[in-house]
């Protein structure tokens, strides 16, 4: 290799590393600051804390209105699990229909489904709220969870349609010759073969439901039903004043752990999911 090439390569590396440090510095700073005594969070910009304490975790964990963060985490996990089940089942069914079945108006409904991808959720917001309110669902998890069972996340339907279309048709045809019905084909062939796409769906459903704030703000009214994201908001007061920064940073740190674990254990699926659909962010 020529010296100039080596120089260019090292410069590129250096630049990429510098940019990378800049990218994650705020997050690393948050994690480290959460272990600093409250009065040092403000003055200390460095990454190596001069004193380490877990007081912030103790004070933050106490939570809000007598409900601890343990309860908030349990609530979030519950919502996420149910949402995953709902999304995976309903989106896979819709995607199978769009990708493989023949029915009247298929093209039309497919275009409609794709159009809902671009529809801002705010247009349906008020009537949905009124609807759920007349059902007596406001204050419960139903307004958040029921839509998941009705395949309202068009992103995932689209992702799964793309994936199922790419599967070889021969296996299904063979199964039909062997006397397998549509349901059999779906359960025994499509679902197992589409596993990578279903994992992507499950992953992003988890992340978005975990991070969702708007729906939780609208529909969750009692502190004992709050999710982690809804509860974190209570650290930032109405005028934007924060009384307990240490606690806020400590609980924020805890709240991002699930995303980290998922990302690093299933990175491959993330990259696949993003490149095939351009999932938001």
């Amino acid at each position: 290799m020529k010296t100039s090439t080596i120089l260019r390569h090292s410069l590129t590396h250096l630049f990429i590393i510098a940019l990378g440090v800049l990218m994650i510095y705020p997050i690393v700073w948050m994690i480290i600051s959460s272990f600093k005594p409250n009065n040092m969070i403000f003055s200390d910009t460095g990454l190596i804390p001069k004193a380490v304490t877990i007081d912030n975790y103790v004070s933050g964990w106490k939570g809000y209105a007598g409900t601890t963060f343990g309860k908030f985490f349990a609530n979030s996990l519950f919502i996420c699990s149910v949402a995953i089940v709902g999304n995976v089942i309903s989106c896979a069914m819709a995607a199978y229909a769009f990708a493989r079945l023949k029915f009247a108006g298929k093209r039309f409904w497919f275009v409609v489904m794709m159009a809902t991808l671009m529809l801002p959720g705010h247009v349906t917001l008020v009537p949905r709220y009124i609807l759920f309110n007349t059902f007596g669902w406001v204050g419960t998890y139903l307004p958040i969870l029921v839509p998941k069972f009705l395949a309202t996340d068009a992103f995932f339907v689209f992702l799964l349609v793309q994936f199922i279309r790419g599967l070889p048709k021969e296996i299904e045809e063979a199964a039909i010759i062997d006397g397998c019905g549509k349901v059999g084909v779906f359960l025994r062939i499509i679902v197992p073969l589409a596993a990578p796409a279903l994992v992507t769906t499950a992953l992003f459903t988890f992340l978005w439901t975990w991070d969702d704030f708007f729906n939780h703000l609208l529909y969750l009214t009692r502190p004992d039903t709050f999710t982690v994201s809804r509860a974190l908001r209570t650290f930032v007061g109405d005028a934007g004043a924060v009384s307990n920064w240490g606690g806020a940073l400590a609980m924020s740190t805890l709240s991002i752990i699930p995303a980290f674990i998922l990302f690093f254990s299933l990175q491959r699926y993330f990259v696949q999911g993003i490149t095939t659909t351009g999932l938001k962010g």
Partner: protein, 304 residues
């Protein structure tokens, strides 16, 4: 049968609410007093845009005097500034980093993961809380600027001149998804094109504009549309960082935030529905313009 859940969801949770909200937008519906709802025609729309025509109040068809919304135009301009600055910046950064990452370098997948982390955590309240802390008067950013010799630094969040820019910076910081899509697009470009261009003596910069950009244009279009639609609907960051309101002097009063405040703080749900429909028209209109213009700048490589 397999389509039932989706069809039910579409009819009950999308189509019906859409039409319902169009109807509501012509009323003064307040969900705490649903019985006193009046048909007010286009008064909600007049309330929105009245201030643009110098109106401060007008008489609705019910005979009532209605004050025009003094903050609507502000929320529109905040949102437009946010979308039209943050989206192009984000795509430029994403493309630049993707090009860097497309070289044969050791540890590229590790770097890619690092760059994706802010996006991964992007919409979370935790990051919004962190951002507020970073850009406060005594936050980390000023701490670092202070140590390298700056003084008299403003509170970036509390100064209306800068607060929107901290939110734009937050958005640009989360360029990970666009970067990964660009990277996938770059990998599809055959190396021979670059080799041929090198033989012809084209510089790297010229190669970038003559080969990379045109061949990547469908991916650019895709990223542009998705990010634009997404940016118009931004809410969480503005809500948390602005403390549940539009920040100081409404400098970060995003459209969706204003809609939420009107609908759920003031119970003006008819008005909120009208705002939602205008948002739909704006997003639809801009998407249509981008698609129509795309035939001038997007090449699908068929004519070669």
């Amino acid at each position: 049968m397999f389509l039932t859940p989706w069809l039910l969801g579409f009819l009950v949770l999308t189509l019906y609410p859409m039409l319902y909200s169009l109807g509501l937008s012509l009323t003064d519906y307040d969900f705490t007093q649903p019985d006193s709802t009046h048909w007010i025609g286009f008064a909600n729309y007049q309330k929105m845009f009245g201030s643009a025509f110098g109106q401060s109040e007008f008489t609705a068809s019910t005979g009532e005097t209605v004050r025009v919304d003094p903050y609507y135009m502000k929320s529109l301009s905040v949102t437009f500034t946010y979308v039209f600055v943050s989206v192009p910046l984000k795509l430029i950064v994403a493309l630049g980093v993707a090009v860097l990452m497309n070289q044969k370098l050791r540890g590229v997948s590790f770097y890619r993961a690092v760059y994706y982390i802010p996006t991964l955590l992007g919409g979370s309240v935790a990051i919004a809380v962190l951002w507020r802390k970073l850009f406060e008067k005594d936050g980390l950013v000023n701490g670092i600027l202070g140590t390298i010799g700056f003084s008299d630094l403003p509170g970036w969040i509390t100064n209306p001149q800068y607060s929107l820019w901290t939110l734009i910076l937050l958005t640009v910081w989360q360029f990970g998804s666009s970067m990964i899509i660009f990277l996938a697009g770059l990998k599809q470009i055959p190396q021979e094109y670059y080799e041929a261009a090198s033989v012809d003596g084209a510089s790297k910069v010229r190669q970038f504009f003559a080969i990379t950009i045109p061949l990547l244009s469908p991916v650019i279009l895709f990223n542009l549309v998705m990010q634009m639609i997404y940016a118009f609907q931004a809410f969480t960051q503005a809500y948390i960082i602005g403390g549940g309101r539009g920040g100081v002097l409404n400098s970060t009063l995003f459209y969706t935030l204003h809609l939420y405040i009107q609908g759920w703080t003031y119970h003006e749900m008819g008005y909120a529905s009208a705002m939602a429909w205008v948002l739909l028209l704006i997003i639809g209109g801009i998407t249509a313009v981008i698609f129509l213009s795309s035939k001038w700048w997007v090449s699908y490589g068929t004519g070669e």
